[in-house]
């Protein structure tokens, strides 16, 4: 995939070159506010007359194909019910590539069909807007912060559904401020600033680059990947074997037998007790690799277990009390969520 977009607006000129392998299906886009992310999506959707858009995404000429765009605001047509909004989109699809009921179910809007848009909550409206865009059968789906109004469990359900669609052939470009979200679901990622792409590549690499290069930018979360061991229905969670140890989560990203989850550095605690000596279910034995100052007088501990890096943010007070040292073996804990 190679796409070049050039446009000059009132206060921002865009000079973007997106360069990904043809295999890229789910691409993330992030960057500070005002970087031009939404403008880029508008250009790609063909809504900016002044913009020059050239390039292909896996043999699809960007300027030629049907592109769906989901705005930050859901923008459901106010005079139509949810069901009518969805049917209208399906009516104008060139061909039906998705089963209506499946999309409705996948976006969790099956119970909203007769409701009018003004009666929906922000999260419900966003889900309907995503479903509407998918039912229009675009070749490329552009999403601008599509799940920002959803609560955690729904957010992951919708993102999982989008990931499924992308594996089925739909190309997705998603803007998000939440790097964890992007790291979890996208295979490629671009970081945009002041109208240009600063970093792009496989999502993990981009995250690593961002961590090392951008001043003041910190890796604030850890990514755990492993084999899905079991779905514990009674406890309402999944068991994942990560680096030989079991961890549990309610909303891991599941891709076949693989599972993945991310944990914010603020949510990880470190202690010297054994892994099973706490009410906190998840405890990973790991080694301290580094201790560095972080903002607000806190310390960032970099831990390692096997190949997995773990980041834990602890307070100065804890360090004065416990005196963690590099090379020490500790337990990194985080709650089952």
């Amino acid at each position: 995939m190679e796409v070049v977009v050039n446009t000059t607006g009132d206060n921002l000129s865009l000079n973007v070159r997106l360069d990904f392998p043809a295999s890229a299906r789910f691409v993330g886009l992030s960057g500070p506010s005002g970087a031009g992310k939404s403008t880029l999506l508008r250009c790609l959707a063909g809504l900016s007359r002044a913009a020059k858009v050239n390039g292909q995404w896996d043999a699809l000429r960007i300027a030629r194909v049907r592109t769906g765009l989901v705005f930050q605001d859901s923008l459901l047509f106010p005079h139509l019910s949810v069901g009518q909004n969805l049917l209208l989109a399906a009516d104008f699809a060139k061909q039906q590539t998705h089963h209506f009921d499946e999309v409705v179910l996948g976006c969790r809007c099956h119970h909203l069909m007769t409701r009018m848009p003004e009666t929906l909550s922000g999260g419900e409206a966003q889900r309907v807007a995503i479903a509407r865009a998918i039912l229009n059968s675009p070749a490329i789906l552009l999403l601008d912060e599509p799940v920002s109004a959803l609560d955690d469990s729904l957010k992951h359900e919708v993102l999982k559904y989008l990931a499924t669609l992308s594996r089925g052939g739909l190309k997705i470009l998603m803007v998000s401020h939440d790097l964890r979200e992007l790291a979890l679901y996208t295979d490629y990622m671009a970081w945009m600033d002041a109208g240009t792409i600063v970093h792009q590549g496989p999502s993990d690499n981009v995250l690593a680059e961002l961590t090392s290069q951008l001043p003041g930018f910190e890796q604030r979360f850890s990514v755990f990947t492993g084999k899905l061991e079991a779905h514990l229905e009674e406890q309402n969670c999944y068991a994942i074997r990560c680096e030989g140890q079991l961890i549990y989560s309610r909303f891991p990203v599941i891709d076949g037998k693989e599972a993945m989850l991310t944990i914010d550095a603020r949510d990880i605690s470190v202690d010297r007790e054994a892994a099973n000596a706490s009410s906190i279910v998840n405890g990973l034995e790991s080694i301290i690799e580094g201790i560095s100052d972080s903002q607000d007088g806190q310390l960032m501990l970099t831990l390692k277990t096997g190949q997995t890096q773990i980041f834990a943010l602890i307070s100065q007070l804890s360090q004065e009390r416990l005196h963690f040292k590099v090379g020490e073996t500790v337990t990194a804990r985080f709650k089952l969520r």
Binding site: F71, D73, F77, H79, L88, A89, F92, E118, N136
Partner: protein, 225 residues
């Protein structure tokens, strides 16, 4: 009595012709104006709004001049239809179109200005044609404004007096509308007949306005977002 019924019938016919034609003219005009960014826009808006403040007799006088067989427009009309434009029903319709134009354009213009452009963007990405976008998105969302524009231009045409008197005169069955019939009764000191017409107009106008306000309130509250 018969002439009064003729006048009522003629007035309704004139108002219907005028308001329906006005919707066809005012809709694209209001749309263009709402999307137009040019220095001359204020001038065009002022021209459209002119009949709001201009004495109807002034408008009527200039229309009469233009309609005269000696003027280009009047001559052309006579050449095509074989009839003269002044003192004819067709002349009345043209006069009414201009006279009531702001009442049709203003509500539509305001509504189109308020319309979130991104609804149209969404419709465009969905592959909807211009006409589909207008019929299935813009028109239903702006429906209250269309109803107000239609109602106001109808009511305003029904109440027309000065312009009609200037360009239509007072020909029963051809150009004698309600307000002029009423004026005639007063001139002839037939206060009973005048009262019947005047009161009828009063009730009609009141009912129409009440209906419009009620509809508009519902229209606004139903779609607040």
């Amino acid at each position: 009595m018969q002439s009064d019924i003729d006048a009522i019938w003629l007035t309704l016919k004139l108002a219907l012709f005028t308001s329906v034609l006005l919707m066809l003219i005012a809709t694209p005009l209001a749309w263009k104006l709402s999307r137009w960014q040019h220095k001359a826009k204020n001038l065009v808006l002022a021209v459209v709004a002119l009949p709001l403040v201009l004495p109807p007799t002034v408008l009527g006088f200039y229309l009469l001049v233009v309609f005269s067989p000696n003027a280009v427009a009047g001559e052309l009309w006579q050449l095509i239809t074989g009839e003269q434009l002044a003192f004819s029903f067709a002349g009345l319709v043209i006069g009414s179109l201009i006279y009531s134009l702001p009442f049709a354009v203003q509500p539509l213009y305001a509504s189109f200005l308020q319309l979130d452009n991104r609804y149209i963007d969404v419709a465009r990405t969905m592959g909807m044609s211009k006409w589909s976008r207008f019929r299935r998105i813009i028109m239903p969302i702006c429906k209250p404004a269309f109803m107000v524009a239609l109602g106001l231009s109808f009511a305003h045409t029904v109440g027309e007096f000065g312009v009609v008197l200037m360009i239509g005169g007072n020909i029963p069955g051809e150009t004698q509308v309600l307000s002029i019939a009423l004026f005639e009764h007063v001139e002839a000191m037939e206060y009973g007949k005048a009262h019947a017409l005047a009161f009828g107009l009063l009730v009609f106008s009141f009912l129409l306005m009440a209906l419009l306000y009620r509809y508009n309130r519902n229209g606004v509250t139903a779609w607040k977002s």
